[in-house]
């Protein structure tokens, strides 16, 4: 699959994306700093691929998703989707570009206008971007409802009459209305019950297969990302720590943060849970307004080195298809740090045991 993807040009190309929220202080409201929600993020998404974006709350993953669709005015960087740089489009061009990129939101309750019926909600994109007559629109609405498994009888109901899972289906139908190529799924299952999550994820997968969609799947649920994503980017404090193919990442995480994150996920199997080797990180995530000087993770990293506290590591490809932003893997530190080798060994052992 990866090979197949490589032969094509990426559908989404993000380069050096920065999203700063300025802080003004003092008498004259001078610009004294920024909340660096996203601080230089680059990645590609191939057509038909699902890129998982994981990280803890506040790491900037949702901001990346929104910035990609120009829901925020980004501070710096480029976002090329299907050949157009979305980041620099004028308002009218942007409007025209919108149909090809859509979003599914986290909270199915909050993302639906409580005063509109289901048909209105799903039909809204059509009103905005087509000049179809009412019949044609209605036909399309029914088609979409069928596609996401909503009974046509519900067309005139209001969102509050639906359950969470059904609402998320409405949200998906709305996103599909204009035949987008790329959909950002911003924590689409976080607010759903366990038994419903699977329904929605399966639906997303079915749709991808049927329509050839490309997803950016943002989630904090690592097991679900493992299920749905082809490649996974792990974010920490506004930067990508590691970007690897799914199986490789889950089998053998390279970045210490990715490693800790994976080990923290509870295992729904009591026998395995008790034998598992957990890495419990100490302390909290620093404020994005005042990130550490060197590596963002240096304050909590169990393998921190002096270098980490002063120099920010770049995201570099250390193995084929695997990118990591960590000094443990840069050529000079590999030799400098004696711990590097042992760590690598430990990792491989762990990987084998799985």
């Amino acid at each position: 699959m990866l090979d197949a993807a490589k032969s094509q040009a990426p559908l989404v190309q993000v380069r050096g994306l920065k999203m700063y929220f300025p802080i003004y202080t003092g008498l004259m409201r001078r610009h004294t700093g920024d909340v660096k929600a996203v601080d230089g993020v680059s990645f590609d998404i191939m057509p038909g691929e699902t890129l998982g974006l994981v990280g803890e709350s506040g790491c900037g993953k949702s901001t990346v998703g929104r910035a990609l669709l120009r829901l925020y005015e980004i501070t710096d960087g480029s976002v090329v989707i299907n050949g157009t740089d979305v980041a620099s489009l004028g308002p009218e061009d942007l409007r025209k570009a919108r149909p090809q990129m859509q979003m599914v939101f986290q909270d199915p309750q909050a993302s639906l206008n409580p005063r509109m019926t289901l048909a209105d909600i799903i039909g809204e994109p059509l009103n905005e971007h087509t000049d179809w007559n009412a019949d044609r629109k209605l036909a399309r609405i029914y088609e979409l409802m069928d596609a996401v498994g909503l009974n046509r009888r519900f067309a005139n109901r209001f969102p509050h009459e639906f359950s969470g899972g059904q609402r998320q289906r409405i949200g998906i139908a709305r996103a599909l209305a204009l035949n987008p190529r790329f959909i950002v799924c911003d924590e689409p299952i976080a607010a759903l019950d366990v038994s419903i999550q699977a329904q929605v994820v399966n639906l997303l997968e079915d749709l991808q297969e049927k329509l050839g969609l490309t997803y950016l799947f943002i989630s904090h649920d690592l097991s679900m990302v493992r299920h749905i994503a082809d490649r996974v980017a792990v974010m920490y404090l506004g930067r990508i720590a590691e970007l690897s193919p799914r199986d490789a990442l889950y089998a053998r995480p390279l970045h210490p943060y990715a490693e800790a994150l994976l080990s923290a996920v509870p295992e729904p199997d009591p026998s395995r849970a008790q034998t598992r080797n957990r890495i419990v990180l100490q302390g909290d995530v620093p404020s994005p307004a005042n990130p550490p000087k060197g590596c963002n993770f240096c304050t909590r990293c169990p393998k921190v080195m002096d270098l980490c506290r002063s120099v920010k590591p770049d995201l570099v490809e250390v193995e084929p298809g695997r990118m990591v932003a960590c000094h443990l893997y840069s050529s000079d530190s590999m030799t400098a740090g004696s711990t590097g080798a042992t760590e690598a060994k430990e990792r491989s052992q762990q990987g084998e045991s799985l």
Binding site: T25, G26, L27, R29
Partner: protein
């Protein structure tokens, strides 16, 4: 917090200057002349001369600039002179009322005490009544107490004060003879008897105004309490085994008071505005009576100065309310 305050104060300056200009133009634009209360027997030439002597025939911008200078330069100097016994302001023309030919600020200072005693204590009484009613109404939502409280609050909103005032006078002054119908501003509280007299003469105007204030504030208190009674931390407090008294009067009340206190602070400028109608009914002659008198007599310097002071107070108490919010709610810290 300090920079925030200073910043807000600095921002207030252009706002207030603009407000002062608007008020000046408005008042000047309004019909009526300072001569309207002069008997018709006084001939036209004399009227014109009087207007000239008042300076009321100068162009608007001249009068506005003069007023600006007087308000922002002369009056502060006069105040400093009053405090330190200096005489920097000697020979400077103060803002002079067209009606009484005396400095406007002196009259305002003279009026302030009675307005503060009557309208101010009505406000305090109103708040003191409103808070417990609001708290209990919310705690026992939809109980008969709540219903009755709501009903009285609604009555407080819906009956005009000139009506309640006259009814009170008829009942308590004319029929029962308990309270005087006319407020004696020259009464000095010296001993117990004069204190009683003062209380008696304040009773009715305070009651009328307090009813209105209490009605309003109790509604705020109630809805704020209701808002907080549903919060998670209330459940936590109960889970800790705290008695209901502590849960309601400590945990919920402290949180509910935050918005209410700011509402109360925002209402304080209205005290200085006086209560035009109530003051007229009971002849309290506070700042409200002063304003309405000045408006009726087209006493432009007085109207301008008074309304501008209200504007300053409104802006100031807006700021105070915001700062109070920050002080009371530890979550809010202005940088």
């Amino acid at each position: 917090m300090l920079t925030y305050t200073i910043r807000r104060l600095l921002l207030a300056i252009p706002t207030l200057l603009f407000i002062s200009l608007i008020i000046f133009l408005l008042v000047d634009f309004a019909p009526g002349s300072p001569m309207s209360q002069i008997p018709l027997t006084i001939p036209t030439e004399v009227r014109l001369k009087m207007i000239e002597a008042l300076g009321a025939n100068e162009p608007v911008y001249v009068r506005y600039l003069l007023w600006l200078k007087q308000f922002f330069w002369v009056e502060p100097l006069v105040m400093l002179d009053g405090i330190f016994g200096t005489n920097w302001s000697e020979g400077m023309q103060r803002i002079v009322s067209w009606q009484s030919r005396s400095p406007v600020m002196d009259i305002i200072w003279q009026r302030l005490p009675q307005t503060l005693t009557v309208v101010g204590s009505a406000y305090v009484v109103g708040v003191l009544i409103a808070l417990p009613i609001g708290i209990y109404s919310a705690y026992r939502q939809y109980s008969w107490f709540d219903q009755v409280g709501t009903f009285f609050a609604m009555i407080g909103f819906s009956v005009p004060t000139f009506f309640t005032g006259v009814v009170l006078i008829l009942v308590f002054s004319v029929n029962l003879g308990w309270f005087p119908s006319i407020y004696d501003t020259s009464l000095r509280v010296r001993d117990w008897d004069t204190f009683l007299l003062q209380v008696k003469q304040m009773a009715m105007p305070v009651a009328v105004l307090a009813l209105y204030n209490a009605a309003q504030i109790s509604r705020y208190m109630r809805s704020s309490m209701l808002e907080n009674l549903g919060q998670d931390y209330v459940r936590t407090a109960r889970a800790k085994g705290m008695p209901e008294r502590v849960v309601v009067l400590k945990h919920v009340l402290r949180n509910s008071l935050i918005p209410v206190v700011t509402v109360i602070a925002l209402g304080i400028p209205s005290i200085f505005g006086g209560a035009i109608i109530t003051e007229q009914v009971f002849k309290v002659n506070g700042l409200g009576a002063l304003l309405i008198n000045a408006i009726q007599g087209s006493d432009l310097p007085m109207v301008q100065t008074l309304t501008f002071i209200f504007a300053v107070l409104i802006v100031l108490f807006n700021l105070i309310a915001d700062i109070l919010y920050g002080l009371l709610d530890p979550r809010i810290r202005y940088d």
